[in-house]
Symmetry: D2
Subunit: 346 residues, 4 copies
Amino acid sequence: MISFQSDYICGAHPKILQRLMETNMEPMAGYGDDSYTKSAKEKIQKACGADVTVEFLTGGTQTNMIVIATMLKDYEGVVAAATGHINAHEAGAVEYTGNKVLPLPQQNGKINASDLKALLADFYADDNHEHMVFPGLVYISHPTEYGTLYTKQELTDLSAICKSYEIPLFVDGARLGYGLMSRQTDVTLQDLVKLCDVFYIGGTKVGALCGEAIVFTHDNCPKHFLNSYKKRGALLAKGRLLGLQFDTLFTDDLYFEISKHAIDMAEKLKDILKKYSCQFFLDSPTNQQFIVLENHKLKKLQEKVAVGFWEKYDESHTVIRLATSWSTLESDLHGLDAALKEIYEG
Amino acid sequence: MISFQSDYICGAHPKILQRLMETNMEPMAGYGDDSYTKSAKEKIQKACGADVTVEFLTGGTQTNMIVIATMLKDYEGVVAAATGHINAHEAGAVEYTGNKVLPLPQQNGKINASDLKALLADFYADDNHEHMVFPGLVYISHPTEYGTLYTKQELTDLSAICKSYEIPLFVDGARLGYGLMSRQTDVTLQDLVKLCDVFYIGGTKVGALCGEAIVFTHDNCPKHFLNSYKKRGALLAKGRLLGLQFDTLFTDDLYFEISKHAIDMAEKLKDILKKYSCQFFLDSPTNQQFIVLENHKLKKLQEKVAVGFWEKYDESHTVIRLATSWSTLESDLHGLDAALKEIYEG
Amino acid sequence: MISFQSDYICGAHPKILQRLMETNMEPMAGYGDDSYTKSAKEKIQKACGADVTVEFLTGGTQTNMIVIATMLKDYEGVVAAATGHINAHEAGAVEYTGNKVLPLPQQNGKINASDLKALLADFYADDNHEHMVFPGLVYISHPTEYGTLYTKQELTDLSAICKSYEIPLFVDGARLGYGLMSRQTDVTLQDLVKLCDVFYIGGTKVGALCGEAIVFTHDNCPKHFLNSYKKRGALLAKGRLLGLQFDTLFTDDLYFEISKHAIDMAEKLKDILKKYSCQFFLDSPTNQQFIVLENHKLKKLQEKVAVGFWEKYDESHTVIRLATSWSTLESDLHGLDAALKEIYEG
Amino acid sequence: MISFQSDYICGAHPKILQRLMETNMEPMAGYGDDSYTKSAKEKIQKACGADVTVEFLTGGTQTNMIVIATMLKDYEGVVAAATGHINAHEAGAVEYTGNKVLPLPQQNGKINASDLKALLADFYADDNHEHMVFPGLVYISHPTEYGTLYTKQELTDLSAICKSYEIPLFVDGARLGYGLMSRQTDVTLQDLVKLCDVFYIGGTKVGALCGEAIVFTHDNCPKHFLNSYKKRGALLAKGRLLGLQFDTLFTDDLYFEISKHAIDMAEKLKDILKKYSCQFFLDSPTNQQFIVLENHKLKKLQEKVAVGFWEKYDESHTVIRLATSWSTLESDLHGLDAALKEIYEG
């Protein structure tokens, strides 16, 4: 069956599998102390154009909880959009590590500098703030959970407020490739290096079997960080699995190429959806598209195409997500087109 | 270079990689809700010969901390050998989840029924025991960290005490295959199902890229267990990676075959070591062999063969580990033999 | 200086100090295993008119975090008003124990049954709810942080929804006495026993030096609860300090009498505030009164009377709290009256 | 009944109760922001003869867990005697906060410098130490759980090793007064200020209703420490209760006087025990005395005198504890003498 259900429906980009095959029988040291992991780190440093520190973990929730837990001080919590993945869809992983998420209002998944500034000013204006959780880190996702993107100006403004309060800015880049390759962005990887304190380059949703590359931008990797993620159950014995995948993704710009492919597919997807006058739930410039569909049409569509349930819109409509990825084929788009044609014109 | 450094020096068994290739472009649901994961669970149930519950996680420390944290009650801790992996080499992962390890004396990595019984009796005899951590789970590893194995009688005795105190018995099987295929064991997979409450079948060290299969033997999988491991950062988006690997390992007895190969290689390794009258640190019937080596000989050996440092023996000797695995070749053994010949006779 | 700053500005009701003196040199067992603690438990059971389980802790935040941590299951969090004390003013204590607060909208500090019902229905309607924190306990405060009270009907409605979802209802009664003695309430102590699963009778703010009495209403006290609060640092060696105070408070209805006194004082306080046409921030039927004051008047007032800063209202106004208690004297009211007279008429 | 069961069998020193009475109706700010708390801090600073930081908490377990949790870094655990209170009798409070206790061998409750040095050297010699818990704090109790004391030289040696590894030294002084007033000690309060990084002056067991005074000796109080103990449920609304008690204890050397009284009583107690040739379990120079008693004699003794059960010695003997305190009377000693006379000579 054709599937636009998510950007993690397939395995890994074929080049990754190929290199796993080629290097399979080479004996290597464990726990990330192998040559491919080292090479991957260097390639990411080069792509970032800066002497950043790079570490690899397995998945997004794991990365969020570990970065947040190791960067917060005892009296601090993390500020995030109420709709942020850490606040809504990670089963309370941040709280499990003892830390509070301090929610901010959001617009299409994004927070803005003035709301952040107000939260910080109000906190310090409150006589009782020693009895409250100090805002100690700002978490944003780029692209957001709704596929939207921050502009360079918006990031610059958030970054400036963070700096003025000496609070690190953390960017969840689980889908970073799709953000960087969007046709409607002015934000580059180098901008992220400059504007935020730590971010990650998502692999799981951008061509890898699993894996996220954390980038600490200002010589601010927590001391003995390996021990910190070992004790949170996140250190792989065969660290080569992560190293080799990122080494491949950052060879000959593969990460960017496959992200661009997903964006090209998404733009074509949007054209198809527009052809049938589908109602967009919001305007997304990346690989995730959200539309509002009548329930009976959705039922019919699902006979041919797997899509992601997002949320109930009203009694007779549902918001669904269609995601493209590095693995989306032209034939998938044709299949979707045909299925919609039958529903709308059939 | 030849390596006996560990049993996770290579990638995955080639059949696993082959199936990753074959299934790579099949779109599937995420988070373990795919057909290969289902199939793997069924095959493991069949191998166990019982209606057990099977769940997949990524690595050993992660599995230990999550099983322990979800099975302990608020007032309980976990009993383990002082040398147990959870007490010594997991960076305090169990404590990080809020739980205490209650150490027992050990002999070659094993605890025994009488020490366990004494600990439990003493605990309940103490008037102050409401101020102490209740023993709430017993953790053993099989094979142990020293490669040793429990006999069926020893497991039966431990199990009986656990049952009489209504305390679950948990077996860390990170290297379970090598234990089951040892020439000196009378313990079968079915015995484990009967004698313990939860155990895991290690993949990472027995042919997989990563992955451990947890087996809850008595309809005792914690409620909403997926949520519990999601919130501890252990849920993979591409659950197929774990499912497919275990599906492969439990097709045509591959798991047992490759484990047997490692044992055959270990027996040959022991013969070579005996040929040079190497001093064994202890008698191990599995894939890990420990010998005491003069430091100058070790230095020479390491020019040709990678081995595992274990611990300082005295000022002039070191305990080293040589591990075989599914990936060990006859040519590795020849290389080791040659290297030792040069050292001892050269 | 006259003070209406809070309801914990003075020591303890004189009868408590008197009994501390009288019993001071009696040797007793520690850790709550003394006769006064037993007697206090019996008296509270009698006042509740039911075979409830009673336990004593030292303060409100401690009680909230321990009750919540021991009643939640691994996959659950606690629902509370966004303004609830646990969400706003306890320094993240609930999160520190690994649990998420799931905020609900509030009106004057109260949540309502329809919002609660919607949250629960939405949660279970979401396909992704296994990735989210399960609502596992409902926390309300009575009186709320704004001094407001639930009606018996409102409590009955919340209770019914909780029951239908098998979720316990927890009432923070840090100021319970002032709620029960309000002239505008139809809720009795016996109603709480029937309608909620656990609540506490606040001592710290109602005449004790420290201490809260937790009441588990349905034979639902967590097993080995003493161990659970010992391990959270909340077990006093001299448990008699808590036992004796509650024994005194529940002798001859002292708890209710002194609470009534505070309410009488609050009603007179309201009359005085109305005399000067002060703007009430909201209508509170208990011992805490909130008014909006021009900043320059506040400054003048504070020369004579200590009040509680609550929050900034706008650039030129501030919300302040005036609290009466068991210790408020008629002369305090006269002093306030005189101070206001000078400000408003002087 | 006469009681030597513990040093917390009575209420508080009468002078404390008297001052609670005298100041009861003075309105004061909450949360330790009152004049008596300030005064108490100053008096303790003066007694310490140094510009130390002083904070008050309620009990010993609470103090241990909070000091340890706030002083350890993410990758560290706390070294303690296997018999240390934090390792044996605090219900796993340290582990509950996510931290491991690293046990050291002990002699009569004490650790020694050479064992500590060996533990540290071995840790850093282990190639795998990044997978282990770093020793990050050393905990000792003075007096120990067995009533024994470190000499100045022993403390100096432990302190030197801690300094050389940059690990803070933490002294649990739950019974500090009895240690400082022992006839066999050369350690002063000023020595502790010099030799350790943080310690506490126990109140609960030395004359207070509750309360421990933490002393940070080197400008090393964790930032926003109040927030850290608020979030662990340890901040009292009526902070005056702790402040006033320590203000009284440190007025006119009351703390030292009453501690000396307990020591004088303990010396007389020892004389009585020797008179009947009781077998001492160990030699304790402080207020806790441990003897080995035949079970049938113990049974008889307990008809007249309450004592503390310590542990089973063998089938027919028990180790019991007899503790003196600020509240022990000459008549208690006479009563014990008479009871023993009846048992041994009757």
